[in-house]
């Protein structure tokens, strides 16, 4: 980590803070995402997770610090950072295809209508929605809506895919299917991704690294967990993989007790730029 990064580093979060009068949600927050890497941020609500994602997306501005993407400080939202929103955020007056086509035409303003539609159709096909392309969001199930959201985000071919608890509103079965779908799509495309979640198994299935955040106020990344479970991972055999249980137990312990006990003032000698890295699966 020393030295600002090399070619592999795509995103650097450098000392960002969010303050309200009399309240610091988080401060002095540092982490990075490497090219092709999948990073999950896990923590309880109230630690500013969504704010961090919005800052990464450029929808929000930190009170201190900054975000570098490809070595340049960001100044707002960009097509290079696509967001899959928690509540799908599809436009209800557009069909599934038109929702994706809107994104495609924003990315490629020079393309004619037919070319935009073809690209949108292809993006929908990748999430298995060819049949439902002409339907309005109101006529789609929750899982299908979120698939359209995924197709829309991937259709702009972003450098970084940002996801804010994208499956939290879905039922358990649909959530599982979509997690595997995202895992497949991200792996296929070598997509760099950053996701916020509070679902431990989701983080273990998808992430290469898992950032554990303490409870707010003054939340910080207390630990970085390396997920060494081999890929491809599937939900069906995830819990049979060697190392799964220590990994899961470690994160659960953190969420249940240590996220609380570690909260507040950092310990003596704490280096916010280098939180401890743990590899529980190898223990």
């Amino acid at each position: 980590m020393p030295g600002m990064g090399g070619a592999a580093r795509i995103v650097s979060i450098e000392g960002i803070a969010r303050r309200f009068p009399g309240l610091t949600v988080f401060q002095d927050l540092w982490f990075h995402v490497d090219r092709g890497e999948f990073v999950c941020l896990v923590g309880h609500s109230g630690c500013g997770k969504t704010t961090i994602l919005n800052i990464l997306a450029g929808l929000d501005v930190p009170d201190e610090g900054g975000v570098l993407v490809d070595g340049r400080e960001i100044s707002g939202p960009s097509l290079d950072r696509a967001v899959i929103f928690q509540g799908h955020a599809l436009m209800p007056w557009l069909s599934a295809l038109e929702n994706v086509a809107f994104a495609v035409s924003c990315r490629n303003p020079g393309w004619d209508k037919a070319r935009v539609r073809d690209a949108a159709r292809a993006a929908l096909a990748r999430v298995g929605l060819t049949q439902a392309a002409e339907r309005k969001p109101a006529q789609l199930s929750g899982g299908m809506k979120q698939r359209v959201g995924i197709a829309r985000a991937l259709a702009v071919e972003p450098k970084l895919l940002l996801m804010d608890e994208p499956f939290s509103a879905l039922d358990a079965l649909t959530r599982g299917t979509l997690q595997e779908e995202v895992s497949r799509l991200v792996t296929e495309a070598g997509q760099t991704a950053f996701m916020i979640t509070h679902d431990v198994d989701e983080a273990i299935l998808l992430a290469d690294r898992i950032l554990l955040m303490t409870n707010g106020p003054e939340a910080r990344v207390a630990e970085v967990v390396q997920n060494t479970l081999p890929r491809p991972r599937a939900r069906a055999n995830l819990h049979h993989m060697p190392g799964y249980h220590p990994l899961r137990d470690h994160i659960m312990d953190f969420l249940i007790t240590r996220s609380r006990t570690l909260a507040g003032k950092p310990p003596e000698g704490w280096d916010s730029r280098r939180p401890p890295v743990v590899v529980p699966a190898e223990a």
Partner: protein, 283 residues
């Protein structure tokens, strides 16, 4: 099937109510209006209206007289024999033309202005006092001012329609634009959609149902106001025609005019209702 049966029964009941109402009216005028009812001198009655002369008792026509008069009027609704003898169709057309001119002019200003007000909280707060003071003013109160400054009675009545139909459209557009979901705007921002594209492709369709509601309210008010305005200004139009028939004491014509005004108002509302349905969306 049940809903269809219900509709038929409602229609049957409506027809029955109408028949009872018309029957009672017919009986009250022709049969029961004898000694108790208001009597009119035969010579005066002959001067006043054919219906009164025929009944010999009252100027109030029976439904059958009105029906006969309606057939007579509709036989040649567009005739023009001098300034005071023009068909009812011509009069309605005059009123419609004034309403459409004033209404479209108001829409052309209210919708873009409402858009700007809805997007800018500053402008909203700055213009709000003016809107709040001007909105409750009866449109007819503008009439003398309009006549004095414009000096043309026809354009003055169009101005009165304009001033009365601008407020609901302005307020509804501003409200609709201001309450567009943040998440849709965020989608547009992350797609770098730009101001114009966001306005036309996201904000306008999102606010369209609210804007259409404003337009429906406006056209309803405009149609109410045109009758009163034409009564004041005179010359042409269904309002003038009603006043003219009052001066002739031909109550049948007044009843027919009321019916016509109601029907045209219904058609105007239905026409905008169709547009509203076309731009409606559901979550």
């Amino acid at each position: 099937m049940a809903a269809k049966g219900e509709a038929w029964r409602a229609a049957l009941l409506s027809a029955l109510l109408l028949a009872v109402l018309l029957g009672a009216w017919e009986w009250a005028v022709k049969g029961g209006g004898g000694p108790g009812g208001p009597t009119v001198d035969a010579e005066l009655a002959a001067l006043l209206s054919p219906a009164a002369a025929a009944g010999g008792q009252t100027a109030m026509p029976a439904p059958s007289d009105i029906g006969a008069r309606l057939v007579e009027l509709l036989r040649d609704p567009f005739h023009q024999r001098g300034t005071n003898d023009q068909g009812i169709g011509i009069q309605i057309a005059w009123s419609l033309w004034r309403v459409m001119a004033g209404f479209l002019l108001a829409a052309a200003i209210a919708i873009p202005l409402g858009f700007v007000i809805g997007m800018s909280p500053l402008l909203n707060a700055a213009l709000n006092p003016f809107i709040q003071v001007l909105r409750p003013v009866s449109p007819l109160a503008w009439m003398p001012l309009a006549l004095y400054t414009i000096k043309d009675s026809n354009i003055s009545s169009i101005f009165v329609i304009f001033i009365c139909s601008i407020w609901p459209m302005l307020l509804n557009t501003a409200f609709g634009v201001a309450s567009v979901r943040k998440e849709w705007l965020n989608v547009a921002r992350t797609l770098e959609a730009g101001r114009w594209r966001t306005a036309m492709r996201v904000i306008l369709p999102a606010a369209a149902p609210t804007i259409l509601t404003g337009m429906r309210i406006s056209i309803g008010i405009a149609w109410l106001v045109i009758v009163a305005a034409e009564m004041l200004v005179g010359g042409t139009g269904i309002g003038y025609w009603v006043w003219n028939q009052w001066n002739n004491l031909s109550i049948a014509d007044i009843v027919i005019a009321i019916l016509m005004i109601g029907l045209v108002g219904l058609l105007l509302d239905r026409a905008l209702g169709l547009v509203a349905r076309a731009v409606a969306w559901q979550e």
